[in-house]
């Protein structure tokens, strides 16, 4: 696996940064000054010595060849991952050959990369030979699963009772009861080992304070939660694929056991959402040959970037395997056959009416779906009072942008890129509107990330 030639772009490097501070610190180190003896090898190792505040320079190595994503090693004491030195080194490397010339790997860097690759190869071999070793005692596993299902059933039953009580007393009373009621119910669902139910309950708590129209939204969400409870309680009577959807919505872990699909996967978008404990990264991929759109999820502890980072606008030759469940787009990234490369592929687009229809159809498979990934073609961002729309260039219809999208700097990048002219926009289309994630100018031009 060699990767001559393909140096990354600065954006691509900065996407690896765990937070804003690292991004900034890394940018400052992305210049020749503090670096010495830097170089890169055809095998995809980049190394360099970075002068820090101490007397000895830090030794920084990055292995970009690994199909599982870049790996970093730095002798600095930072607990950020990757640290600013690794980011700076990659930026320097991305900037061109002057500062990081091709060369042969020095010993200190070679030791680490060789060790890493050997371990990776061993893991792969072990994985191939002993696939069944995890399920040592199938009988015990089955008993565990049964016990958990019983607890979830108890939880769902309790939740049904609470929803019924709520509706009996009226939502107006719930507004006065405040957030505490929901927190407590959510904690009960965590105890019942149903994290999917717990998350939905927690979101219910935020609705009464979410502005005008809250009773409608609260009733909708209560009804869908009720639907999910009912789905779980009667899962034996559901078609298998819908039952799998219910299981995953309730929060039971699935495994990506779908058949691996090899394709040229275009990276449509990558964005992170974070709560107090967890950073969740969503990456949308579009298969150039299969036409499928899949979602990769990866997680990082709070303050750390999830490990998987794929630069928007590039394509990678890889296998992905789907998770079970009707209407579920989640997949797992399997083997990668080459590093991501620049591409001119763009996803085929639809009109706004087709996008809305696509969401409606997707609800048939998964009624709890918030939105579907859609590429809109020939749309223009249009201001509409305090909000914005994406309007078809030729017809008279338009999708409103979702409230969160209106507050992001990406909105203005989208508007600037358009300049009043039609463009292609990928995003998530749901009942609250459209969230733009990536845009392509009408004519030639690379993808511009909006999130």
């Amino acid at each position: 696996m060699t990767q001559q030639g393909v140096r990354w772009g600065a954006d691509q490097v900065l996407a690896l940064a765990p937070d804003d501070a690292s991004r900034k610190a890394g940018s400052k180190l992305g210049v020749a000054g503090p670096w010495s003896q830097a170089g890169s090898s055809d095998e995809g190792t980049v190394w360099g010595l970075c002068k820090g505040s101490g007397s000895r320079p830090y030794q920084t190595v990055v292995d970009i060849a690994d199909a599982a994503g870049p790996a970093y090693k730095c002798s600095c004491p930072s607990r950020k991952f990757p640290c600013k030195h690794a980011l700076g080194l990659l930026l320097l490397w991305a900037a061109g050959e002057d500062a990081v010339p091709p060369g042969s790997v020095p010993d200190w860097a070679e030791q680490w990369t060789a060790g890493r690759r050997r371990r990776a190869a061993e893991t792969r071999a072990a994985g191939a030979s002993g696939a069944g070793s995890g399920a040592a005692d199938p009988e015990a596993a089955r008993r565990r699963a049964e016990r958990r299902a019983e607890r979830i059933t108890a939880g769902a039953t309790e939740l049904e009772q609470r929803l019924a009580d709520l509706l009996r007393g009226g939502l107006a009373a719930a507004e006065q009861a405040g957030y505490g009621l929901w927190e407590e119910t959510a904690a009960r669902m965590v105890d019942a080992q149903a994290p999917g139910l717990a998350a939905r309950v927690r979101e219910l708590g935020a609705i009464p304070s979410s502005g005008p129209g809250w009773p409608v939204r609260l009733l909708e969400e209560c009804a869908l939660l009720h639907l999910l409870d009912q789905g779980w309680l009667r899962r034996e009577r559901l078609p298998e694929s819908l039952a799998a959807t219910v299981r995953s919505r309730v929060g039971l872990p699935g495994s990506a056991d779908g058949p691996p699909v090899r394709d040229r996967w275009l990276v449509l978008a990558q964005y992170d959402t974070a709560d107090a404990k967890l950073t969740t990264r969503r990456i949308w991929l579009h298969g150039a040959d299969s036409g499928r759109t899949v979602l990769l999820l990866s997680y990082g502890a709070a303050g750390r970037a999830p490990e998987l980072a794929l630069p928007v606008g590039l394509a990678l030759d890889a296998e992905v395997a789907a998770y079970p469940g009707a209407g579920q787009l989640r997949a797992a990234l399997g083997e990668r056959f080459a590093a991501p490369e620049p591409t001119r592929i763009r996803p085929p687009g639809v009109t706004t009416a087709q996008a809305a229809a696509r969401y409606g159809e997707a609800l048939r498979d998964d009624p709890w779906l918030e939105s579907v990934p859609v590429t809109l073609e020939e749309v223009i961002p249009v201001p509409d009072g305090d909000t914005w729309q994406l309007a078809d260039a030729v017809s008279d219809s338009a999708l409103p942008l979702t409230p969160p999208a209106l507050g992001r700097p990406g909105l203005w990048r989208l508007v600037a890129l358009s300049g009043g002219a039609p463009l292609t926009v990928f995003g998530e289309c749901g009942h609250r509107g459209f969230t733009p994630l990536t845009a392509w100018p009408r004519t030639e031009g690379p993808a511009v990330a909006l999130c």
Binding site: S27, P34, K51, S53, A95, L163, A356, P367, V382, L417
Partner: protein, 542 residues
């Protein structure tokens, strides 16, 4: 919001509203519609609501499009080279942190390089990448000094964006005519209409633009409506005649000397005095010449000064302000104004055929030297007289040049402005070589960027000397910062020797060596970065 289509088989449109009302009040108080036999009322309501919710969501249709904005004007400039576009995004991402405390370390200050980058990109005539415009406008919003270059680079699309986002309104104020292009100098009809109907800012911009290319046309435009303009506007318009000022403007300016507004009269007089051939300049020369003479009665020829005894109406008409500021004698105040407005060319003949150098070297009787030389400095700057400026500056290494002399540092900086770039750099280099860096900051500020080789070397040598003297680098942080931005990047290699941490000398400040090495590293790093930036913009990068 998206509107919901009404499915054909849907129950009455009010069904959902009824469900919401029932849910809001509670099923104990309000019986929900429909209702399934055998199920409790709240559960039945949830059943119904789930179906209704999904039906509503599945039936969503796009809404009606609002009025589309006019497309932005096309930007015909070529796109940035890819590497330069990446660099721009890195420079723009480097926002100064809150309060920005702390030691600067060895990393360059990227935000400080943005002005240079923009100037270079504008010189190449590139168009800004559209997706970078929001960050560019945000940067220009926070820093007014960036605005002209940033807006020029951002081009027509930035103004189009600024009309959509109130946070970027400043761009519309800064751009004449809110972004609509000024008429070309030959478009007489549009010029006349804009002049007669335009807003004040548009008219100022129009006049300034005309004066750049066709000074006479600009003057005629102004003369046509002069009588009807308000006094404040007359002052601003008159001031724009400074651009392209020439002998042809004299009649108009002479007439403005009789203006009702004192400020307008003063400005007209100032402009006339900058025209050495004007009648006003001649009148001032006569008055000034009456005050200054060479006294041969003493051992060495000496300049004798006799300040005017009164400020008559004619002097006042020629722009002399009769009332002296508090703390100044009125006779010396009048003298200063006469000398400042008199053409410098008259002095050689008046003072015995001497050159400016000889005149400046003459002793001056009765403590008038400061007053006299300061007035000549102002005259040299106003009349852009390089020969006199040179004489008044004196030799850069002269002992008086470093300390407070007749000519202050601020005046020197202004005098230097009348010399050409190479001579300016040489003079400042000589000054630094003789007097060090402690007084040099202001003078360095007027030198052309990048610094000429002799100047750059003088600065680096002086920094090196300062380090060897054992002081801390932050005593020179101003000059260091300037050097990072202004040294020729080609000098970077000459600095390599300074990067090492030297052995600590006994009398040096503790740890100073390490801090100096760090400061020099930042200097070299910044120079390399500037070199890379220039290469990228010239499309020669890697």
């Amino acid at each position: 919001m998206i509107r919901t289509s009404a499915p054909v088989e849907a129950p009455a449109a009010g069904a959902w509203e009824e469900s919401v009302t029932a849910a809001l009040l509670g099923t104990d108080r309000r019986t929900p519609p429909g209702g399934t036999p055998g199920r409790e009322a709240p559960v039945a309501l949830l059943d119904t609501a789930a179906v209704q919710t999904l039906r509503r969501r599945a039936g969503l249709r796009p809404g009606r499009a609002a009025e589309r904005p006019q497309p932005a004007a096309p930007d015909p400039r070529p796109a940035l080279p890819e590497a330069a576009a990446r660099r721009l995004s890195v420079l723009l991402a480097d926002r100064p942190g809150p309060a920005g405390g702390g030691r600067r370390g060895t990393a360059p200050d990227l935000m400080e390089l943005l002005p240079q980058w923009l100037a270079a990109a504008n010189a190449h005539g590139y168009a800004a990448p559209p997706e970078a415009l929001p960050a560019l406008l945000d940067a220009a919003r926070g820093r007014t000094d960036l605005r002209p270059a940033a807006l020029a680079f951002a081009g027509p699309r930035a103004l189009w964006l600024a009309r959509l986002n109130p946070e970027w309104r400043f761009a519309l104020r800064a751009a004449p005519g809110g972004g609509s292009a000024l008429p070309g100098p030959d478009d007489a009809e549009r010029i006349r209409r804009l002049w007669e109907e335009g807003l004040f800012a548009e008219r100022v911009a129009l006049l300034a633009a005309l004066r750049e290319r066709r000074p006479a046309a600009g003057r005629e435009l102004l003369a046509a409506t002069w009588a009807t303009e308000r006094a404040e506007d007359r002052l601003m318009f008159l001031d724009s005649l400074r651009t392209g000022l020439g002998p042809d403007d004299e009649p108009f300016l002479e007439q403005a000397l009789a203006d009702r507004s004192r400020n307008v009269r003063a400005t007209a007089a100032e402009l006339l005095s900058a025209l050495p051939g004007s009648a006003l300049a001649a009148r001032m020369a006569d008055r000034a010449a009456a005050c200054v003479a060479v006294d041969h009665m003493r051992g060495t020829p000496t300049i004798a000064v006799e300040a005017p005894h009164e400020c008559d109406a004619n002097m006042e008409r020629d722009g002399v302000v009769p009332k002296a500021p508090a703390g100044r004698g009125e006779r010396s105040w009048w003298l200063g104004q006469l000398l400042e407005a008199a053409p410098l060319g008259t002095w050689s003949a008046r003072l015995g055929g001497r050159t400016p150098q000889d005149i400046v070297a003459l002793p001056v009787a009765d403590d008038w030297q400061g007053e006299l030389h300061a007035a000549w400095c102002r005259a040299a700057v106003r009349q852009r007289d390089a020969q006199w400026a040179r004489a008044l500056l004196g030799a850069p290494a002269a002992p008086g040049a470093g300390g407070p002399g007749a000519v202050s540092l601020a005046e020197r900086a202004r005098l230097l402005g009348t010399l050409d770039a190479a001579e300016r750099a040489d003079w400042v280099a000589g000054f630094i070589a003789a007097h060090g860096l402690s007084e040099a900051f202001q003078l360095l500020g007027v030198c052309a960027v990048p610094w000429a080789a002799p100047l750059g070397r003088a600065v680096v040598d002086a920094l090196n000397i300062a380090r060897d003297a054992g002081s801390y680098p932050w005593s020179f942080s101003g000059v260091m910062g300037l050097a990072e931005r202004c040294l020729d990047p080609a000098e970077a290699n000459r600095l390599d020797g300074l990067l090492a941490v030297p052995d600590e000398a006994e009398d040096a400040s503790p740890g100073a060596g390490g801090y100096w090495a760090e400061a020099f590293q930042r200097l070299v790093t910044t120079l390399r970065l500037r070199h890379a930036m220039a290469e990228e913009l010239a499309d020669r990068a890697g």
